[in-house]
Symmetry: C2
């Protein structure tokens, strides 16, 4: 089965180049995005939601025009393997998720997903062949509607210059930038 | 001036394909990532931090092996145009930021960045030519060290099945998944 407009081999090559490794989650993710795209409601422009930060966002970025940087892909950190494509104006969409009931038919995939055995005991070849054979059959699909107040992209407000670091930041964040307000990921050097 | 291993034209083409449009922020972002890569401290593996969700993450994803899905790119939502590449084990890195003092030398870029005039009054051709001519000269670079507790990637813990939706979620999130606990972006249909 193809993944989007690509053959399995073409997609696998794109994944390796973009993601660094052929991660099992990104293969399943490819089938998820493919399944969602084949069931889109009418509409011209689609935005997307990933309910996990792991792997899945890269499948969306490889197979759709949505990216993190263009803000057509939004990530909710729920740790759930689910992706939604929705019409950007009315919010009508399809949500595809990994269905744990259906997963039981594919023991090696199930065991990988639930981390039932140590990585070194995994049979990678079997895992990948089961993912490929399973395709859409481990997925379920729901019609959803995205909440109207999540639809609107916030327009950038005005900038201020942070009195501590001297860099520009969104004025609405307060009297200094969030980094200087204590959220910096850096230690002083 | 090249952007990473690419000519300006090659990079612009990649941006259009991945990001949808040739956004000014993604061109400046390309020069930022390029500048950081040319000043990396010693080390084999680099992770990255973007201090904004807008545009810049796509420059990192196009020019480095880091992506959102492989977790080598982390996004801090500070609304600051700054990117850091750092050695993943010791946290030594370089942070490149758009320097508002230096920006004053490039009026059309300055005016775009601070939204000083309505979009329709912008001179796009002049804007792009100034960005291209400016290259690294609107940027400043700092040596930084990433906080040790931001370095470690959290290993995935065990999964639970949500009693409400029946889907898998990280057990550490509590007795139901975050979506069913009230954070869902969907309305009931």
């Amino acid at each position: 089965m193809n993944i989007g407009p690509y053959s399995y081999e073409e997609y696998a090559k794109m994944v390796e180049s973009f993601h660094g490794t052929l991660a099992p989650g990104l293969l399943i993710g490819g089938y998820m995005v493919d399944y969602a795209m084949k069931n889109l409601p009418e509409g011209e422009f689609f935005d997307s939601i990933c309910e996990t930060r792991t792997c899945l966002p890269d499948a969306v970025q490889l197979l759709t025009p949505c990216s993190v940087g263009n803000d057509w892909l939004k990530i909710f950190d729920f740790g759930k393997f689910a992706v939604t494509l929705y019409e950007k104006y009315n919010g009508e969409g399809v949500r595809v998720y990994l269905d744990v009931e259906k997963l039981k038919n594919w023991p090696e995939v199930n065991s990988w997903f639930f981390k039932l055995k140590p990585k070194k005991e995994q049979d990678s070849e079997l895992l990948f062949s089961q993912i490929r054979e399973a395709g859409h059959s481990v997925l379920s699909l729901q019609r959803v509607k995205v909440e109207p107040d999540k639809l609107m992209r916030k327009k950038g407000g005005s900038s201020a210059i942070c009195p501590v670091c001297g860099e520009a930041y969104p004025a609405e964040h307060g009297d200094k930038c969030r980094s200087c307000a204590g959220e910096s990921p850096f230690v002083s050097v």
